[in-house]
Amino acid sequence: MKTSIFLIGWTLLWGLATNTGLAEEHASPPPTVDEIVHKANHMAFYHGKDAKGKVEMVITDKQGRTRNRVFNMLRKDDGENDSDQKFFSFFQAPADVRKMVFMVHKHTALETEDDRWLYMPSLDLVKRIAAGDKRTSFVGSDFLYEDISGRSPAEDYHELLRTTDTQYVIRNTPKKPDDVEFAYYNAYIDKKTFIPMKMEFFKNGDQCYCIIESTKVEDIQAEENGNNVVYPTVTVSVARNLENGSTTQMIRSNIRYNVGLSDNIFTERYLRRPPRDAMR
């Protein structure tokens, strides 16, 4: 009993600390590896109950040729404790995907596939997409599906390699190495915000082939249960594929949290005619 009260108090303190940034670091015992990983997962993918924003991707290949992807994304959490989520992406560019909608009901339980739909407006076609390899490119960029919707911490073993003045360095090794292309990845997690600032993916032993970096973090004001809070959010990130020399810069803008998105949005009704929240 004592322990659980202590834990609740500790969690509240941490919540306050990360939300306000006021707490002294030495006031709390150092977090365990699992706590760091769960906190980082939360900071990267689970701010607020829901969110909306615009995403722009600039993909630059080895020769310097660029391609753009622009879409508005809505997200709503569907389960407790950073689990299931629903995503709604309304594409604005390029021309061949304009006004297409990609909807995902993400399931974090192991062995449960995500539900995915694609709506093609020129055919008025709602296509059900077979759950695929989550380690494939998202819309042809250097980010993978999992980089956008999150990789469940339960899929990897985690090890704290070292702690620097500003970061925790965590090595993540897949529990099922045959399911993924990487042997392990190192995540550099900011000690104050718990935002993953850099991820390096390795294969064939120690060959680093992909780096994802958070290059800009902004404090986004939001309301949570009637209180004003601040969610530190990565607004610019860069994925570099070291094998083919391609780079993708992802810029997130117009981000708003806790906007009160309805569950109905993530159904066929809105897939066929997107809500204004997605179009604007």
Partner: protein, 430 residues
């Protein structure tokens, strides 16, 4: 259809302009300090310009060597107010096969979401439902197989409807009702672009015998109603369908030999959802040929049962495969055979296996796909390989073929054997 301007379609742009103007006026009175133009909703303008050419791979006595030859401009306008959305999409193209300029309104509609439980879309619109992958059972909205067979973009497989779609959303189930006040047929194989088996001539025919059909065309009398009741249970999508209208392509002929569209009612059901690693779908439909329920009139299509079962799965990185088994089962077959006066008899049932393969390469900029249909009962097949390369975000290059094979000249795909063609296209989007 094409070229014929229908009052409904004219109405929509007029309404659109009125609404924009009215909306602007109302707001202008409320907030005089803003300039008049500030109150117009932003109008999004998009579209593409495309060149497409293709030729037959063998001689066809009844058609040109070119299978497709066109330069096309598509323009799309979209805007919205607080209570409604408006869209216009139209194509103009120079058609080298018909040797004339053509225009087609693809979409011209108003959409409104007046309450939590109601959506309304009125005007010219493309409509699709059902679970089949390029196989349609309960989707009775117009198709354009002619465009598909000559290698136009997949978008053109669906022809638009002039209709009102009203959707109700309730906790128990959702209901779509589509009312088409004047029958919209398929853009069926008429002989203009594609040669076909002509039952009365008992030979292949094409531009020498363009199908002239007597299409039901009385407003609000020759109408169509399509209904779908659907519900999603744990992401298993269940649906019931109903349709009252006409066979979508000529399904009979008069004693004088004019092609007609007999009355048709369709009742069906479908289910789709996750099975194992992929998506399974099953759909069934009963086609009740209302003008010949007994099947004794050889000049009118008999009633049919149609079934499809399918499965789609990503079986390697960026490689997707979908396989389906489709059956058309003719009801009252003995009556049909007894009364058949001439021509080869259809089989009792028609079986078709479809396989769709898609592979993405080069950072998903190159898409290779193959749509294939094989009928073991008709001993015929149709293959549609296609290659699309996104050269830039604005320029897409495309190449492909339509390959028809068959043992008999009168089977569904076999009759098109001489239309086997290859095509290429370049599209610039703006």
């Amino acid at each position: 259809m094409r070229k014929t301007i229908n009052p409904c379609v004219l109405l929509v742009p007029v309404l659109l302009m009125t609404v924009i103007f009215f909306d602007a006026q109302v707001h202008a009175e409320e907030e005089n300090e803003k300039s008049f133009l500030d109150h117009f909703p932003p109008i999004e303008i998009n579209g593409f310009f495309e060149l497409r050419a293709g030729c037959r791979m063998q001689e066809d006595l009844y058609e040109k060597d070119s299978s497709v030859m066109e330069s096309r401009l598509q323009a799309e306008l979209f805007t919205y107010t607080d209570w409604a959305e408006f869209k216009y999409k139209g194509d103009v193209w120079g058609d080298g096969i018909l040797e004339r300029g053509e225009y087609d309104t693809r979409e011209a509609w108003i959409f409104s979401r007046p309450t939590d439980f109601l959506d309304i879309k009125i005007g010219r619109q493309v409509l699709t439902w059902g679970t089949g992958d390029l196989v349609f059972l309960n989707d009775m909205f117009p198709k354009d197989w002619q465009s598909y067979f000559i290698g136009r973009d997949k978008e053109y497989l669906k022809a638009p409807s002039d209709a009102a779609k009203i959707s109700f959303f309730t906790g128990l189930a959702n209901i779509d009702v589509v009312y088409t006040p004047k029958f919209d047929s398929d853009r069926y194989i008429s002989g203009e672009y594609i040669s076909y088996w002509n039952g009365s001539l008992k030979r292949l025919a094409g531009q020498d015998a363009i199908v002239s059909a007597d299409k039901p065309d009385r407003w609000f009398q020759d109408d169509e109603v399509a209904l779908r009741v659907y519900r999603n249970i744990n992401n298993y999508e269940l649906a019931l369908y109903g349709y009252r209208g006409f066979w979508k392509r000529p399904g009979g002929e008069t004693t004088s030999g004019t092609a007609i569209f007999p009355e048709l009612n369709v009742y069906g059901a479908s289910a789709r959802g996750q099975i194992g690693l992929g998506i399974g779908n099953i759909e069934i439909a009963y086609y009740q040929s209302a003008d010949d329920e007994s099947g004794s009139n050889p000049r009118i299509n008999n009633s049919e049962m149609r079934y499809v079962v399918g499965y789609t799965q990503e079986f390697a990185k960026d490689v997707n495969a979908s396989i389906q088994y489709y059956i058309e089962y003719m009801l009252g077959y003995s009556d049909y055979k007894e009364n058949l006066s001439c021509g080869p008899a259809r089989d009792h049932d028609r079986h078709v296996v479809t396989l769709q393969l898609t592979k993405l390469l080069m950072n998903q900029n190159l898409e290779l796909s193959l749509s294939s249909y094989y009928s073991p009962s008709d001993s015929d097949a149709y293959f549609r390989p296609n290659m699309r390369y996104k050269f830039t975000d604005k320029i897409v290059l495309e190449g492909g073929a339509n390959i028809f094979l068959g043992e008999e000249p009168h089977t569904f795909f076999g009759q098109f054997e001489n239309n086997t063609n290859i095509y290429a296209a370049i599209r610039y989007s703006f």
